[in-house]
C-alpha cells in the first residue's frame, strides 16, 4: 500500500472520528492543534485504525501521550534534554523531530502528532504485517 493509499484511508478515519472536512486532513495537520482532537478522540482514532487496517495498535505506541511524565532523566525545566530526544526518536521513529529539536518544550510534543505521523506509522505496520 502506497503512502497516498494509506493517507486516503487515514483521511476517511479522521473525518469520521473528528467531524472535520476532507480538505483539513493534510499530512502536516496536527491532530490537537489543527483538528481539535482530545484524548477520547485519540482512543477512538486508534480503534478505528485497527478496524480499518485490520491490525493491532498497542497502547501508547502510536500516540505515547505520557511519554516522559516529567522524568528528570529526560526533561529539565520543562524542556526535553539530549537523552530525551534520543528516547523520543526511539519511541517514535516515524516522527519528524526537526522542528521540535529547535524548541524542545515538553508541552510541544503533542505537535508531533500529525496526520503524516499516523500514515508513516501505518506504512511500517502494514509492511511488517
Amino acid at each position: 500500500m502506497s503512502y497516498d493509499d494509506i493517507l486516503a484511508k487515514v483521511r476517511t478515519t479522521l473525518v469520521d472520528a473528528l467531524n472535520v472536512d476532507d480538505n483539513e486532513v493534510t499530512p502536516t495537520a496536527r491532530l490537537k492543534g489543527d483538528l481539535n482532537a482530545e484524548s477520547i478522540d485519540f482512543l477512538d482514532i486508534v480503534f478505528r485504525l485497527e478496524r480499518q487496517f485490520n491490525l493491532k495498535i498497542p497502547r501508547e505506541e502510536l500516540f505515547p501521550e505520557s511519554i516522559f511524565s516529567g522524568d528528570p532523566k529526560f526533561v529539565n525545566d520543562g524542556k526535553v534534554n539530549a537523552d530525551g530526544l534520543i528516547e523520543l526518536q526511539t519511541r517514535m521513529p516515524y516522527a519528524d523531530l526537526s522542528d521540535f529539536r529547535k524548541d524542545p518544550r515538553l508541552d510541544k510534543i503533542e505537535d508531533l502528532f500529525t496526520v503524516d505521523l499516523i500514515v508513516r506509522y501505518l506504512e511500517s505496520k502494514v509492511a511488517n504485517k
Binding site: E38, I40, D41, D44, F47, R48
Partner: protein
C-alpha cells in the same frame, strides 16, 4: 412520546423503583431491556404489563455483580435492537449492619452490586454510545444516603457516594461525545427495599422528617429518570438530582 424508538437498558427492573422506570420509559416509546436477578415471576409480569399498555419490554436474567453480565446483556440488546440510547443503573442491594458487626463480605456484596455493577454496565455501553452513536444517556440510581447517612449503612452509603462520584467522572470523560451522565438520589420510597427501615422507624415518624409529608412512590423517581433520558435534559450532565420530598433539607417539623 419523548423517547420513541429509543432503546433503554434498566438493571434491577423487575421490582420497586426499577420496575417503575421500565414502565415509564416504555410509556414514552422506548424499547426497554431490563435485567432481573431472581424474581422471574415479577419480571414476566413487568413484560406483560408493558405489552398490555402497548409498549415493549424484554427481561434478561443476570446478576450485575457478575463481571460478564454487562457485556452479555448489552451484546444481546445490540443484536436485537441495534443500539443503546439509555442506560439506567438501578440494581441495588442493602446489607445494613452496625459497622462493628459489618464483615468484608457485607461490604463487598453491596459495593459489588451498587458500584462495580454500575461500572460494568457503563463500560459495556460506553464504546457504543461514545464512538458509534455519539450520543447516549446514563442515569445512575443513587440515594440520599450518599450524603445523609442512616445508622448501619457504611457499605450502602459508601457505594452510593462513590456512584455519585462515578457519575461526575463519566460526565467529564464522555461529554465530548455527547454522552450525558446523571444520577437521581431518592429518599424514602415505598418499595420492598425500604420496608425494613419503615418498619423500624415507623412511617408516621418518617413522614415528619419529610416536608411534603408523604413517602415517595417509585413513579416519583421514574418521572425524573424519564426527564433525564429525554430531549428536555440535553444540557444537563454530571448532576445528582435529589428526589426526596425535601427529606435531605433536614428540617425540624412543628
Amino acid at each position: 412520546m419523548t423517547l420513541k424508538d429509543q432503546v433503554a437498558i434498566v438493571t434491577g427492573g423487575s421490582r420497586g423503583i426499577g420496575r417503575a422506570i421500565v414502565v415509564a420509559l416504555a410509556r414514552e416509546g422506548a424499547k426497554v431491556a431490563f435485567v432481573y436477578r431472581g424474581s422471574a415471576d415479577a419480571a414476566k409480569a413487568v413484560e406483560g404489563d408493558v405489552a398490555a399498555a402497548g409498549g415493549v419490554a424484554k427481561a434478561y436474567q443476570g446478576d450485575v455483580v457478575e463481571p460478564a453480565t454487562g457485556d452479555r446483556v448489552v451484546e444481546a440488546v445490540l443484536a436485537e435492537w441495534g443500539r443503546v440510547d439509555i442506560l439506567v443503573n438501578n440494581a441495588g442491594v442493602i446489607r445494613d449492619k452496625l459497622f462493628l458487626q459489618m464483615e468484608a463480605e457485607d461490604w463487598n456484596a453491596v459495593i459489588g452490586t451498587n458500584l462495580t455493577g454500575a461500572f460494568a454496565f457503563c463500560k459495556a455501553v460506553a464504546r457504543q454510545m461514545a464512538f458509534k452513536q455519539r450520543s447516549g444517556r446514563i442515569i445512575n440510581v443513587s440515594s440520599v444516603a450518599a450524603e445523609h447517612v442512616n445508622v448501619g449503612q457504611a457499605n450502602y452509603a459508601a457505594s452510593k457516594g462513590a456512584l455519585n462520584s462515578l457519575t461526575r467522572a463519566l460526565a467529564v470523560d464522555l461529554g465530548r461525545r455527547n454522552v450525558l451522565v446523571n444520577a437521581v438520589a431518592p429518599g424514602f420510597i415505598e418499595t420492598d427495599m425500604s420496608q425494613a427501615v419503615r418498619n423500624l422507624a415507623g412511617e408516621d415518624n418518617l413522614k415528619k422528617l419529610i416536608p411534603v409529608r408523604r413517602l415517595g412512590k417509585p413513579e416519583d423517581v421514574a418521572a425524573v429518570v424519564v426527564f433525564l433520558a429525554g430531549p428536555a435534559a440535553a444540557y444537563i450532565t454530571g448532576q445528582v438530582i435529589t428526589v426526596d420530598g425535601g427529606l435531605s433539607l433536614g428540617a425540624v417539623s412543628g
